[in-house]
């Protein structure tokens, strides 16, 4: 099975081609340019270089989030339109499980963290045995509170991955202590090949997402909606 993987959730953006379990190509950029400017050129380049086309692809896997709202929509819109137009199966994989899968060979306990700015993260604790299994619920809030929850359940060593692990490493070592492990820099950020590998397993298991309906995983309401709900709660 040949799978195309796409990730545009954070500042890192990447595309990857997978043939079976073999990574045929991966193109990753961690620069300031928007995903809108770099995603399509990256796709064109990797398909051309590998000599692949729509006909030779058996499925598309995309990182659904959490991450930058705008970034997620660029990746998800692109993946949905490709799957729809090529008539190929689509599978969405969360950034958090993608990260856990990516470093799961290094530790049994993995905490995936996406930087949500201002001391907050999106996160999830996984226990990995080949496939990541969720131990906590998805978290969206202050990093400290989440780490307390993590140390209460996980056993050291705990591996921390994602741009949240980079941004809040100091806080992590403070709270978790020596049991906190951090992957080297080329594994700490999500790679599209991890999304493709995990997506491939799901596709092989017969899972599919509807290219008309797949939505990003935001884990947060829009600001205006939050305010509206707060106001309504007060009125009641």
């Amino acid at each position: 099975m040949r799978v195309l993987g796409i990730d545009t959730a954070t500042a890192t953006g990447s595309v990857a081609l997978l043939d079976g379990e073999q990574v045929v190509g991966e193109y990753l950029l961690n620069i300031q340019a928007t995903h809108s400017e770099r995603l399509l050129p990256a796709l064109v380049l990797i398909l051309e270089d590998a000599g692949w086309s729509g006909e030779t692809i058996d499925g598309i896997a995309v990182a659904t989030g959490p991450g930058s709202f705008t970034g997620l929509r660029i990746g998800v819109a692109t993946a949905k339109a490709l799957a729809y137009t090529w008539g190929k199966p689509l599978i969405g994989v969360t950034v958090l499980e993608g990260l856990a899968f990516q470093v799961g060979f290094a530790a049994e306990w993995v905490t995936s963290l996406v930087d949500a700015r201002h001391g907050e993260v999106y996160g999830c604790l996984y226990r990995v045995n080949g496939i990541p299994e969720m131990v906590t619920q998805y978290w969206a809030g202050p990093i400290g509170d989440f780490l307390q929850e993590v140390v209460a359940v996980a056993q050291a060593p705990i591996c921390f991955a994602g741009d949240g692990a980079v941004a809040y490493w100091e806080t992590i070592t403070e709270i978790v202590g020596n049991g906190a492990k951090r992957p080297i820099s080329n594994s700490i950020h999500l790679r599209a090949s991890s999304i493709a590998l995990l997506g491939r397993q799901r596709l092989l298991a017969g899972e599919r997402h509807d290219p008309l309906a797949l939505a990003p995983l935001y884990l947060r309401l829009a600001e205006a909606e939050r305010k509206l709900r707060a106001k309504r709660r007060k009125c009641r």
Binding site: L40, P41, Y218
Partner: protein, 348 residues
């Protein structure tokens, strides 16, 4: 934006248009730039009514939910398949950046998947083509007034694809002023159509609202003075505990806006020797504006064209039509085309 490549094929060209610049998710298939095979518009107006206006993040979230179903429906209603498309045209500005990016990303991916040309379209140019779509026989030179909740632009067109911006609003768009005043009056969102409805029973001379820049030596518009005057007027009445003469306020307000819009448009047409005037955008559906512009133009031996209501609002048929003409000229947008929220006509 565009570079030229080999010549496109002849008749029968199907162009898919995609539009997500504000709060309408729209897709349309147009044949040869004139025959609308489908024109699907999913409006989010009910959703944004909860907030009293368009909320960008909420609009973007709705677009990503709706974009593929809307495209799919547009293709099905046109009884066509993606492979039959000759080109894909998409709005890349002006508009809300997060909203634009949803349509743009889908359009680029479809163009890549089909190996067919991608043509980025300026939304304001799209509004002009709403008239071209409906009146393909009309030729430039012409003056075009585009008015909506988001824009007020006066253009001179000496040939299609070639625009001179004569004037635009220096503050609020005409539709925006309507909306804001309507909100103060306690009318429903969006306020423009509500004011038009109320104005029917009112006296347009009841209140002498300011006509910003009307006598000035410019084609630019300004509606902030009018907005302030109207809101002050309403507050004064409320403080005195008087009942609001809603119909009179609406009629006087509409008269002031229509006076400014029509005067500038006719003056521009005279100055540029244009015998044809295009009216487009959401406010082009305003009966009062149409009637007065018609009246003034006829007196000058000019003719006014405006699109049917469905083509006045934001739609993708106008984008597909504009895209068709650019496609026929061999224009192509690059893969790194980005959304440009403040895109101006003639800029790339």
């Amino acid at each position: 934006m565009a570079e030229k490549q080999g010549l496109p094929e002849g008749p029968g060209a199907l162009v898919l248009g995609i539009e997500t610049s504000c709060d309408e998710t729209a897709a349309s298939v147009v044949r040869d730039g004139r025959e609308i095979l489908s024109n699907v518009i999913a409006s989010q107006v009910d959703l944004h009514r909860l907030f009293g206006g368009v909320v960008p993040e909420i609009a973007s979230r709705k677009h990503i939910e709706l974009i593929m179903p809307v495209i799919d429906l547009a293709l099905k209603k046109a009884d066509t398949k993606p492979e039959a498309l000759s080109a894909i045209a998409v709005t890349y500005g002006p508009g809300l950046v997060g909203a634009l990016l949803v349509g743009l990303s889908a359009a680029k991916a479809m163009a890549l998947a089909l190996d067919c040309p991608l043509v980025g379209i300026n939304h304001i140019e799209g509004h002009i083509y709403a008239n071209v779509l409906q009146y393909p026989e009309v030729e430039p030179p012409l003056i075009c007034l585009t008015v909506s909740g988001g824009h007020t632009d006066l253009l001179y067109i000496d040939e299609y694809g070639h625009y001179e911006i004569l004037g635009r609003t220096r503050d609020d768009a005409a539709g925006e002023a309507f909306d804001k005043i309507a909100r103060v009056m306690g009318l429903d969102y969006p306020g423009g159509p509500e004011i038009a409805r109320m104005a029917v029973d009112g006296d347009p001379k009841a209140i002498d609202f300011p006509r910003g820049l009307m006598q000035a030596d410019t084609y630019d518009f300004s509606f902030s003075g009018l907005k302030t005057a109207a809101i002050n007027h309403i507050h004064t009445l409320e403080q005195r505990g008087e009942e609001l003469p809603v119909a009179d306020i609406a009629a006087s307000l509409q008269a002031a806006i229509v006076d400014v819009l029509t005067n500038k448009t006719i003056a521009a047409a005279k100055a540029y020797g244009a015998k044809t005037v295009f009216l487009s955008g959401g406010v082009a559906a305003n009966e009062g504006l149409r009637t007065q512009l018609d009246l003034l133009a006829t007196a000058q031996g000019m003719r006014v064209y405006y699109p049917s209501p469905v083509l006045c609002t934001d739609n993708a048929a106008m984008i597909a039509c504009a895209g068709y003409y650019r496609y026929r000229r061999g224009e192509r947008s690059p893969w790194d085309l980005n959304a440009v929220p403040n895109l101006r006509l003639g800029e790339t």
